[in-house]
Symmetry: C2
Subunit: 497 residues, 2 copies
């Protein structure tokens, strides 16, 4: 007789790749086996299963709460955009044109082609023009949570680079330049908060160079994260000051106090489901996921161990209830058809922050066994005030995960004073702070000279500028490491997703 697994070709349990040995395969295997995600039969499209969608829900709720306090309103603009609207801002369309997906046929009929939004500047701003009359109508602050489509030609990767992805996009308009620029940084702080306070990830805040800024923006600010294992940085979220670039093209103007017409100042800012991929890459290990406690759908899994009687079952139920009353997300894994050891492996693979093992002896001593996913730490704790103990334990785990990632990131930010140093640090998978002129040509040279070829094909993309960090960035008179031109800021470079 064949077993169920044989009959249905159930995939092997557990990871067969190691993070340090084969990061790429490890990651792709991990996101599937932990049930975060499933590959879809259209390349670059992925299914977000409940285990990952929950993380996104927590991020959504938290960020929406924060921007609501700032007076941002939620709305929804259409998925489709006309060619005419797209072509109004030349720099903008130039960036997105190669990735636009066009609908040309509906049912059996050919239609005038319409594109799927790659972002919504061109969708929204014609209506800003329609709605805004007076300086009193400002500021206008809108946000939407939606899907966008960018037909990527680069290789796609779960969460990190997909053709379709979910994000929020904020679009605001101001009468005063100062108000707009202030908001750009407020939002950047909120993005930082999502990474530090929810995902336990340190980020570097800064400004993008000319070469890396958003098409059509005056400037782009960014939070950059770092994946220690392969030394790649990753743009974690961006907040753009658009100045009057778009308002001039889309003719968005208002009448000011003196009855003069003025173009408005605009911002746009976005955070995507990429943040989930970043968290997975940074925290997880060879056993499986390690989820930051505040975003984990299950924070504590209870596994009953050994023989049970009604007293022990009652004890378990009471402990579960006490934790739930504190708002802790608890799952009791009381499956009868698998052994405790199988359950341990299952929930370790899925990255649940805390496991609680409860058996007859624990009941008798009014204790529980607690095992921390991030470090395997195992100890007995009293069941008195279990809700409070676990709450504080979850916060401690969060802090430890953050500190660990922070220490690693700090270690990997180097300074180089020569081009040889730069290349050496890069070869050790570090990020490098260098005096840099900021010119596009110079950046392209750096990128070109650090591209690694194997047998004539690109093996490693060259280093890019990640940002001009806001912190620890002395303004001394310096010379660009590459071209020797005078400059007054360090720029952070590295390989990057």
């Amino acid at each position: 007789m064949t077993t169920i697994r044989e009959k249905k070709k159930v995939p092997e349990f557990g990871l067969t790749y190691k993070k340090a040995e084969n990061f790429s395969e490890w990651y792709q295997q991990l996101v599937i086996k932990s049930e975060l995600l499933e590959y879809y039969d259209i390349k670059g499209c992925f299914i977000m299963r409940p285990w990952s969608y929950f993380i996104w829900s927590v991020v959504k709720e938290s960020f929406t709460r924060d921007i609501t306090k700032m007076g941002v309103d939620e709305c929804y603009f259409p998925l489709l955009v006309t060619k005419d609207a797209l072509e109004k801002e030349a720099n903008h369309i130039e960036n997105f044109a190669p990735e636009l997906a066009w609908i040309t046929k509906c049912g059996e009929n050919d239609i005038e082609p319409v594109a799927i939004r790659p972002t919504s500047e061109a969708v929204m701003y014609p209506y800003f023009k329609k709605w805004l009359f007076s300086h009193r109508d400002l500021p206008l602050k809108l946000n939407q949570w939606c899907n966008v489509l960018r037909w990527e030609v680069k290789s796609t990767l779960p969460f990190i680079r997909g053709r379709e992805f979910l994000w929020q996009e904020g679009h605001t308009a101001y009468y005063e330049k100062e108000g707009a620029e202030q908001e750009v940084l407020q939002i950047l702080d909120l993005y930082e908060k999502i990474y530090t306070d929810l995902l336990a990830i340190p980020v570097i805040k800064g400004k993008k160079t000319e070469n890396e800024k958003f098409g059509g923006a005056e400037y782009t600010t960014t939070v950059e994260a770092f994946i220690p294992i392969n030394g790649k940085a990753v743009q974690a979220a961006t907040s753009h000051f658009l100045g009057q670039n778009f308002s001039k093209m889309y003719d968005v103007k208002i009448v000011d106090k003196c009855n003069n017409e003025e173009h408005v100042y605009q911002n746009s800012w976005g955070l995507t489901t990429r943040c989930i991929g970043i968290a997975v890459m940074i925290h997880s290990d060879d056993i499986g996921l390690v989820l930051p406690p505040r975003v984990s759908k299950v924070q504590v899994v209870i596994v009953p161990c050994g023989s049970m009687n009604s007293d022990v079952v009652g004890y378990i139920e009471r402990i579960k209830k006490e934790m739930e009353e504190k708002g802790i997300r608890v799952l009791l894994d009381d499956r009868k058809n698998v052994l405790a050891g199988f359950k341990f492996n299952h929930w370790e693979l899925k990255g649940v922050p805390l496991r609680m093992e409860i058996g007859m002896n624990d009941y008798r001593s009014s204790e529980v066994v607690m095992v921390t996913r991030m470090n395997g730490n195992k100890r007995k704790i009293s069941s008195v005030d279990i809700g409070e103990s676990v709450l504080s334990e979850l916060n401690k785990i969060h802090d430890q995960m953050y500190e660990k990632a922070k220490a690693e990131q700090m270690k990997r930010i180097r300074r180089a004073s020569s081009w040889e140093d730069f290349k050496c640090e890069l070869s050790y998978n570090n990020m490098i702070m260098i005096p840099f002129c900021g010119r596009i040509e110079c950046e392209e040279t750096i990128k070109k000279e650090t591209t690694v070829f194997t047998d004539g094909t690109v093996d490693q993309q060259g280093a890019k500028s990640l940002c001009v960090p806001f912190e620890n960035n002395e303004r001394t008179d310096m010379q660009c490491l590459k071209c020797g031109e005078m400059c007054d800021k360090y720029t952070l470079f590295g390989r990057s997703y």
Copy 2:
């Protein structure tokens, strides 16, 4: 000198159409002028502005909370679907094929066409096959909030029929037929609850006829709402029992306790942003919107009246704060550039349930003037325990709005015992309960014979079956009103969106 309004062509304030005289123009003017929605430059696509999106947010939050308790998990599947996946269920694709939008080009390159999801059965079920092995993996309960696209050929109408719309779609799989069928009705109850408890709208629960059921479903249950002013019914949400129809086509099967392979039983169920349009059509009047209090972004607007001093301003602030502490959504309209009368008109047009006028005299007498939007009722109330008073007032308004709509709906459900009666009641814009055989041919005949032509073109679509209501539906031996065949149920007919 030209004024701001002339310069920017600010549209006229207030409604110029009357609900009873020109319902269609009234509705379309209302949704724009109240800032619920904006027309978009692609036909059938609409912009949901914050005023309407807020309603959707409340519905989302409430329904998500309810289904989470039922064990339904949130997830996200891709926007795109291949031709292969779509064509697996023949009845299903037949219904949707004429409305499918196809992407055929990306950037400059032609691609193998992919469609935008009109609904996600064909997107999801191939993965149900992949994920489900054993009866222990069931039930699987998934839901997603997303956009879908149906290239409607019928005339589109804000909220009611759009090419793109937002909805939730739940998709579940069960081992036991009974469990699945039970869920179909549980969900229908939750849909009813959204209408009655949030939107103050009565609905009629029932089962769709063969002719009107979802393509591929075993049967479809529905909640039907009614727009008294034009006598049109509108499908408000549907919950389908798919039986094994899809699981057989998509090969979704599990191994049961006895190691036999069985196809799963499936449901799908959906609620769209149409619910907003229904609420607007039912409750609003010639002055503007009348929003149900529980979904209104602003529940109470405070308008300071007459001369102010710091005492009165402090009084207003205190009252505002007291209400906010009770969770009431309050807006203080302290604009200096417009008169109180303008503010009254503005917030009446936008349908805010309660207006509070506060001036010097009110401060002196520790009172406020309260005006109810739904009936214009104006009175003074004490400012003592103002939070509690307003909370109870908002609930009262909700109940009154519901009762009013319910009474009207009850009055408009008629019974007909002859074909002549049926046509007569229909001509009075009523819904009609008739003994009906349920056959597709008979339904088509009724539709055809009640279609109204003017100058050779269709002026009014014929009557459709709305549902076989669950309540007040005696099972006596009867004859179908149209064909005379024996039947044991009444079916509700009417004109419909």
